[in-house]
């Protein structure tokens, strides 16, 4: 794999909810080389968990599909892409609104995108109805000043 980044990894998982923990732990382990704080790691794990859960519940609506996770490191910046080939999002602006959910019967809080947006520096959502959704999240890990 040729890359212009300092490091890169790809992960493909089945859209099973028991894979959520694996996905967030794998991403956390991948970025650990940048020496992030506990808070930064926690923010990244939560954001990854939200994106993967969205693909499982909304993208694939609990049917079987593949979720791709691509992580890149560019100096101190981590770029995480999480994509599915599920049903896509009809209106991204509405989906991003805090507390908006299409699945209140599942006791979903509608906070997924809000959490991704606040816990990461940048969030980009691309979606085509019937084809799938790709979420790109970026965060710069601060230089550890204690060294």
């Amino acid at each position: 794999m040729k890359t212009k980044y300092d490091n890169e990894m790809n992960l493909e998982i089945l859209s099973k909810s028991c894979n959520e923990a694996f996905a967030r732990i794998a991403v956390a382990a991948f970025v650990s080389g940048l020496d992030p704080t506990i808070e930064e790691i926690s923010d990244i794990k939560t954001a990854v968990s939200e994106a993967v859960t969205n693909s499982i519940i909304h993208g694939y609506e609990n049917s079987e599909g593949i979720i791709k996770i691509n992580c890149k490191i560019d100096k101190r910046k981590i770029i995480i892409e999480i994509s599915d080939t599920g049903k896509g999002i009809e209106n991204i602006e509405i989906a991003k609104e805090p507390l908006y959910t299409t699945k209140p019967e599942l006791e979903r809080s509608g906070m997924g995108f809000t959490i991704m947006e606040s816990f990461m520096d940048e969030l980009k959502i691309e979606s085509i109805l019937g084809l799938g959704t790709k979420v790109t999240m970026m965060k710069t890990i601060k230089e550890n000043t204690l060294d």
Partner: protein, 106 residues
């Protein structure tokens, strides 16, 4: 999850020991609802001391349990919430609905 019921004080405590995500909440929901309906306690406490991870699935789960508790006349409170999880609660407005006891030392 460890469950303890203090009959004298009608106090039902859930000590959550697992990570709270979409995968884990269904089991937690079922057990909590069963216990609340069984004891109809005066107070329900969720102890977060051993919860290292929670995402937005936890928010929906807690609001759902709050509704069950309220319907049965029980008060609900969260204790020992770590800063990373408190942040998610604050973002979602949970502290306006459910009491979070600051007593934890984390």
């Amino acid at each position: 999850m460890n469950i303890n019921y203090d009959q004298a004080n009608k106090l039902l405590t859930f000590e959550i020991t697992e990570e709270i995500d979409h995968c884990g909440v269904e089991k937690i929901k079922r057990r909590v609802d069963n216990e609340i309906e069984r004891y109809i306690p005066q107070n329900v406490i969720f102890d977060f001391d051993q919860v290292s991870f929670m995402d937005s699935a936890g928010i929906g789960m807690l609001i759902g349990r709050y509704k069950v508790a309220k319907m049965l006349g029980s008060n609900m409170e969260l204790i020992n919430v770590k800063p990373n999880i408190r942040k998610i609660f604050e973002m979602s407005g949970i502290p306006k609905i459910i009491k979070i006891n600051q007593g934890g030392v984390n």
